[in-house]
Amino acid sequence: MMTEPTDPDDNPALDMASDNAATSRRGFLREGGALIGGAVLAGGLKGEAAAAGADNLPPNIPEWMKAPGDPMGGQPYGTPSPFENGVVKNISKNLKQYISASGRSPLGDLDGIITPNGLFYERHHGGVPTIDPEQHRLMLHGLVERPLVFTMEDIRRFPQQSRIHFIECSGNPAYTKPYGKTASDVAGLLSCAEWSGVSLKLVLQEAGLQPEAKWIVAEGADAAALTRSIPVEKCLDDAMLVYSQNGERLRPQQGYPLRLLLPGFEGNMNVKWLRRLKAVTEPAYSREETSKYTDLMPDGTAREFTFYMEAKSIITRPSGGQKLKQPGFHEISGIAWSGHGKIKRVDVSVDDGNSWQPARLQEPVLTRALTRFRLPWQWDGQPAVIQSRAIDETDYVQPTFAELLAARGENSFYHNNAVQPWRIDAQGQVTNANA
């Protein structure tokens, strides 16, 4: 019997038992060198690979130079090196069910700001449908001059735009223990891509919104027929109907063939497998925006329509589950983002929060997108606690976990954007300093 006030599908507490061993191990091994990493990842080939490894090192000629490699055409759709097969989505093995469930991006193993399509986080409420785009339709009706039906071919005829934005699940993570071990455990319901599609405003203009239309109800063509209500102001601002992600058509897990994109709004509202938009005077008050995705406060009130994802950051390297193999130079690197616009500054502390210094922001710094930050660091081999805090262009400062708990208690579940501290022990092992 569930006694916790949480959505079990969103609840990282249930996920933590998975330990995400594969990606943690890779992070550890990355510090130790690719050859050893490859050997261990290959499992049973350890002895053979280790022996071959010596033969492949200078001054010897590596075996892969002595014969031609794989011919063209063996892999019509490219996949990562077999030595990278530990870099996969972080999916708990202990969920109660997998139809309404989530899987996290392996943040600690990723560089830059773009999430590869195969590693983009997933959250679905009725499984992943297999939709034939020829048989998919988008219906636009309600308070419009002309109710319309679009084929996918129709949608692609509109002028196209491409923009880079993050999407983050609002339950990323909960406020309750256990707090997670890796960056993926803590913040992996977050990814960022270049999205291509059409401005929603253009499509709405095609139907002609009536003046009393204040909300648009969006519905997915999945087995949950997931429904969320979006203020019309957002729909006429930067909302998009998206059919491509990082240059290729959307993956089924991301809403193929069509999804809504609401930059900076909580992930659940970016309705996937989009089949219907209805213009109305007030929200639908659907199950997903009343019984779920509302933020419960200690006094029993619950915040509804909490759309924006506030500024947040996390150090991904070094991060939980990784290990610094030796003192000396280590670049601290992480990601920052804000639903309210561009990241203005990221401060990093390497002394348990006693002092903070600005990190360098990697260009490009884009609105409502991940921004990569970096800080060169000399680790002296002593225990340390490192953490980052983001400041966005509205001058909002990412709060500490203590500040959030003081304002919201620990049952609000959604919109936890707390500073994430990592503890490094004298052996270089990195763990969650909150745990």
Binding site: L148, Q205, E206, S286, T290, Y308
Partner: protein, 187 residues
């Protein structure tokens, strides 16, 4: 270099000329029958609820067959969410959020069950069955009597206990002073 005529870049002029009455002319008109088939949203006041009716007694039969395996025989939860109980816990450190304790609007129950439940066969229940199973869940929560029958009017008239506990978004609600030096003593 972008050529400019009449203050507009050429590509913007072309776009304006291509559109008739501000429209691209893409898509076709949706027929009333098409809209009726897909427009399944029920608003919080019960708007768009279909004809039909269902009793608590029949709802128990439907629930036992379609729902109990995941939600428990009495809605106590299992693989699926707990549906029953929790009233009086929402403002405590251990809140139990259920239909009875947390959901603000009863018509949402019909909307959600029809569109998404049972999870293995959504949109398979007839409207009478959806009314009935809604009635049974509301009865298990002590909100309607055992001999009740629900239709559009009766379902819309139910006042949920937690209805007035929802508020708007007050964020930003937390202010980090962004201390830079000697912060340990200021915690």
């Amino acid at each position: 270099m972008i050529a400019v005529v009449s203050g507009l870049p050429v590509h913007a002029q072309a776009e304006t000329q291509l559109k008739e009455n501000g429209r691209y002319g893409i898509g076709r008109t949706a027929t009333p029958a098409e809209i009726a088939g897909w427009n399944i949203d029920i608003d919080r006041n019960g708007g768009n609820l279909p004809p039909g009716r269902g009793s608590v007694a029949h709802g128990r039969e439907v629930f036992d067959q379609q729902c109990a395996a995941c939600h428990g025989a009495k809605g106590e939860g299992g693989v699926g969410d707990q549906l029953v109980g929790g009233q009086g816990t929402i403002a405590t450190p251990k809140p139990v959020r259920t239909v009875g304790s947390y959901w603000p609007y009863a018509p949402t129950l019909f909307d959600y069950i029809r569109r998404a439940m049972p999870q293995n066969a959504p949109q398979s229940l007839g409207n009478d069955d959806v009314y009935a199973v809604s009635a049974y869940i509301l009865h298990l929560n002590g909100l309607i009597p055992a001999d009740a029958t629900l239709d559009a009017g009766a379902l819309s008239a139910i006042k949920m206990p937690n209805r007035n506990m929802f508020v708007g978004d007050p964020r930003p609600d937390v202010k980090n002073p962004a201390c830079v030096t000697d912060c340990a003593g200021k915690k």
